[in-house]
Symmetry: D5
Subunit: 188 residues, 10 copies
């Protein structure tokens, strides 16, 4: 098993429910800007809405730093709309909710639970070249944190834009970064 | 590519530098308690000591909740000792530093960068049954956060110990959890 | 391609929404009585509720002649419940609505549209031995008729119970059947 | 096993008995208009003539809506002629009776009973593009209904000619159809 | 391609029309006595009835010398009966007319014309051990002779019953046979 | 096993003893006229000379209707000459006697007895296009009839030359033939 | 290609013409005594009789030293008898003349000319254990010498019976042999 | 196993000791004249020098009739020279002594004893076209005769130069040869 | 297993620590001059520094005769620098210390201990054409000698530069060499 | 290509010339004591005798420390004896000279030059368990040193007998060895 990190995302074709409309989405739509793709098991279940709602609350901040957010489950876009209609939490969501009933995207990112036909809780940060830079996967009952995700995306963007610098542990914007050099070997 | 989540860790044999000694470590040593396995690219480099130091600072807290921590790189245990001797940051480390010059463990967890012979920044939370419950992998320049890792381990332990409850997004101990039931369908 | 007629149904494990509860269903539950299995593309769509409602209206008559009815789509049972809550038509349904997110059952009966992850409009009549006796599959836009289905089930039951008799075209109970004999060769 | 629905019919070459003549028939003859292909087990048997006669009675109505009808068995065209000569019911038939002694067409449509060398009772509705839109297969003793077949062909034609409309359950010409729209999600 | 001569006939199961009844026939029915198996292309055609009639005229003589005769075509036994009803020539037949709609027997004897689904004009003489001793195959338009066939069966029986004797060219019962011996080498 | 009837004869190269000379023969020599190829087991044996002599007596008649005759065994042409010198019967032969010590021709026609290296008693009628129209194979002890062979060749020639006519059973020149037509179906 | 020398002769079953009788011969008949097997192309040819006659002249001497002689060609035993009858030279032969029409023995000794179906001029000396000790093969036109063959057999027998001695070049009985010893190295 | 007779010799490259020099030899050197290739097991052994000496004595006669002689063993050319220096018998040799330590030539002629790495006593006569016409192989202890070899080469040359004649058994120059003709069949 | 001697070195890409810098090294850097490649198991271990120090002491002499020296272990170049900083012995090294964490070079030269991920003590002398002329491999505990290595390189260079001469055992510059000639065979 | 170091020597059977006798040698003879196996290209050549003589001079010292010495070339044992007789240098040899004309041993140690059939100059030190501890291979013209070989064997023996000690570079008996310990990491 080799890592998904630094691989290109694979092609897909899907329909999303986005701000009251059904819209087509492909891997081409992710090209040219940073993206977060957030998988969850199923609409109309329990941990999922808290995570999607947490992400909805951070959506404006992600937009500010040029990041698009996509949620994905193996439900249809019809079901996404119905859930959006029915749930107060989901109603807050403004990012595209992708329907993946064939499981293509879910398998592309290696998070399909084959015996259930549902996705694990996987989050992926993708750069404008379509390469996966950060992956995070939880077993079903364990919720993620949108705040920490936001920190990671900021670090990934900083590193991408500042050649020769790297972000140390728990770095947040404004803190010092590191510029690797031979003199630092064994000195940190 | 299928997910590593909920798979059993594979067998390995290695030597670690641990509190001034060279000790053997196998997958058997992880059985029966929670474990965190933290991969990094190479000794005597730059982001790595900040992450390992961050983890060293949290080590007492991990110990308190019954979690052992292991760091792993493809360096030898001889080099781990030499780094421990040479670096102020690394000197703080009390957890076992595993040497993986054959790359066996690094490939077991799918984080080998084959063209470099070095590990990606991957962190894995493993339950007492040896099953991987949380995975997090960063490309080389992006540092991880020990605090967020600690939160995830707490959530994973809570879910494992409380049948019928799940932890919502960004949950920390003391906050409410969710108990899935048919009546909640579409109500969150 | 050989016909599904007279083959045994293949094993499956699923969860259904049935009269307010989530219940497990396997191929074992179909054994020992006649069954109708009715596939449709997706919850919260258009032709589907009219067909399922048509079937709901005939459900008492099917029950009277000892036939269980099952509807199946690739949606989850969570979504089935949500649809049942939301739609006036679906609310009438008293038969089990099976969730098949892995597509196992849908593929077992050969009605998966692989590029969509959705089922065709397929109806199957199954005898108490688990053998498929009648199959009927429509492309997506063309609705089925519960009345005609009821007639077919009655004919299938009559033939099964009356050795040596067969039902001619458009037969309904009470009409004459045929008893094949050598003297009839070329006489009908 | 994947469904035959929406696949193109496969090539074949055969001889039919048609209105007192032996005529060649290929898959090309079906192109450009709607067709019904009706398989039955064997000439000079029992259910078969009632079904073929039922279809003969509807033949004028099928012709009116531009549909050609073909019957097929694994008998030769010589036998079809002999049966037509011998049977009062079969004498009514004006549509082509295809002889398929090689079983090519019967296998093309997946209705060969290999251990008998005879066809199941399968009916297929094929659009002018040669794509199968409706399939219906009965085990041997269970007769079909030409009237219901006529209804299905009408629905299939309506859907093909009215973009954006679909036919609900048990629809017949003159009744309302449905135009799927996002607003209808969960409202039927 | 190796010869069929002296091979055992292969297993088959079929239904024959025999003296007003439908009877099962298998390769077991041929065991223990001499048999002639006579293939022809199709019922209700042209050369076939003359050949079958010729054979019917010799049937009593074959019976006298302990030989059963079977005719085989790829038509069904239903069609055989209908032909027997319809044709004056065929009505004379008292031997079993085997229906082979699956083509199993026809292929067993290597006389299937695959592109037509019909048998060549092949005749086979089979001894009580089930071994083929004489084969004769004509292309479609060329009729066989029952008289010559009768001569061959007599020669085959004579050789089988008289160890050490062989029948010279155009031998008929009563004529001298040959007893091979070393002294005859080069003397005939 | 599929039939040899209507296949093209395969290429061969051989030497024949013909009217006091050793001459080369290939499949090309058979092209353009009708041919009879007559296999027999071995020179200097017993049934063989009576059959070859029978054929020698008919040779003039075969020549008259444009048919060449070839005998073939797996002996060499040297042995054919020696036999011709030694045997009164064989001395009558004027047709080419082909030597086939490699068994190529014998295997081409499927009449090699592999465990003996000898040919079965097989006779084949070949048209000017090199296609086999009649095959007749006897086990070793059973002699053939040149008169019946002559009748078959005449029938084969008649059919080849009279499009639309076929020869009924035991036809000989001068007798009526049949012209197949739809009106005759079931009338013979 | 590895040598045939010191390999065991392979099994065969054949019929020989031997002193006026047809007798079976197998590889078992060669066991327990020395044998010479002499292949030649064909009966009734030219070099062959001189070689076989030469061997016939030496036969008594071979018999005296306990050696059986066998001649083999791909002709039948019938032809061998006919040749023995016809030729003055061959009439002298008292050793078994094996018929090998299947070519089994000829191929066993590697002397088949596949394009002709005839044997090369090969002679083999075989010891009582069935192992080939001497091989000699000539192209077709080059005759062998029975005298030299006799010398070789004598040398082979001498070596087999006198452990530790070997026969030098052109040795004949009575002449000195050599007893290899370390002292002779480089001294001859 | 097929015969080496009439095959072309395969390519090789070797070094020979020839009249006080080390010279290269390839299969090209054999082209255009007759050659004898004489294999023996090993230098400094026992039978070998007597055979090579016997051949040395005939060398002038072979030269006279245009034949080159080569001896071959799996020793090196260094060892050949050392043997030539050390042995009185070998000192007489004027023909090239080829060293074949790789065993290439020895395997080309099929005379390698694989378990010993030594050659059998094989002699081969090769015509100017590089085709092997005579082969003679002895097991280790049995010496060959140069005189008989000389006779065979003479016969091979005679046959090659006199089209239409063949050499009978034990022929030597001056004796009559045979001219095969049809009239001689069975007369010798 | 065939020898590495006289094979070309395979391509590699690596980073070395060389005189205070990190520099890229490929197989191209070895082209055009003599090179010594010296593998050892691991930095910060025990025999290794004495061997590398021994080589460091001879480095000036190797440079004088135009030879570059490379040390290789499976450690990273970071670790090489850290060792250079930490060890008095290693500080003396002026030749490039190659890091081979992927094991590519170590496997190229066949000295990887796969179960440890470490190199054996292997030394290779490579000529300017990139061909390996001398190989020397020790098990882990056995130290090498730089002085003897220096002698071997001198001999290899002498032989390369003096066509027709070879260096006898324990040769050192200034001593006599040997010029092979036919007269010397068996004289040394 | 993986290293031969620490592999077991493979089985072989050979004959050696040893102190005036021909004696069998197998891999079993090497068991239970230390051994040196010394390959060289060919007897009667140039560098080889100097190396073998150098080894002969050290043979008594090797014997004293319990080491047997074997020389191996692809010549036969006959040639070894002849060389021993002929050369003053070789006459000094008292160790077994193994003949390997099949190349088995030479290939076992990976030192066969396949295109020449000769061995490279390879020396191997083997422990009493049959494991190869030291390998040294030179291209043809470069002589080895028996003195350095003797040093290596002494080091290998010392390490084998003193658990926990290793021999540093250029160690000779009497000098200090190293005992690896964690405290020495980075201190040498």
């Amino acid at each position: 098993m080799s890592s998904i990190i630094n691989t290109k995302i694979k092609p897909f074709k899907a329909t999303a429910f986005h701000q009251g409309k059904f819209v087509p989405v492909t891997e081409q739509d992710l090209a040219g800007k940073w993206a977060v793709v957030c998988f969850y098991p199923a609409d109309f279940t329990f941990v999922c809405p808290t995570e999607l709602g947490d992400l909805a609350d951070f959506y404006a901040k992600f937009q500010e730093i040029g990041v698009e957010v996509y949620s994905v489950s193996t439900d249809t876009h019809f079901t996404h709309k119905a859930w959006h209609d029915a749930s107060e939490t989901i109603k807050k969501i403004n990012y595209p909710m992708i329907g993946d009933p064939t499981g293509t995207i879910t398998r592309n990112f290696g998070v399909m639970i084959e015996e259930d036909g549902l996705a694990l809780r996987g989050t992926f940060v993708i750069n404008p070249e379509g390469e996966i830079k950060v992956a995070e996967i939880h077993d079903l009952g364990i919720g993620r944190s949108a705040a920490e995700l936001f920190r990671k995306v900021q670090a990934a963007q900083y590193v991408a834009n500042h050649d020769g610098e790297v972000c140390p542990a728990k770095w947040t914007p404004g803190e010092a970064t590191l510029a690797p050099s031979l003199d630092l070997v064994g000195k940190i």
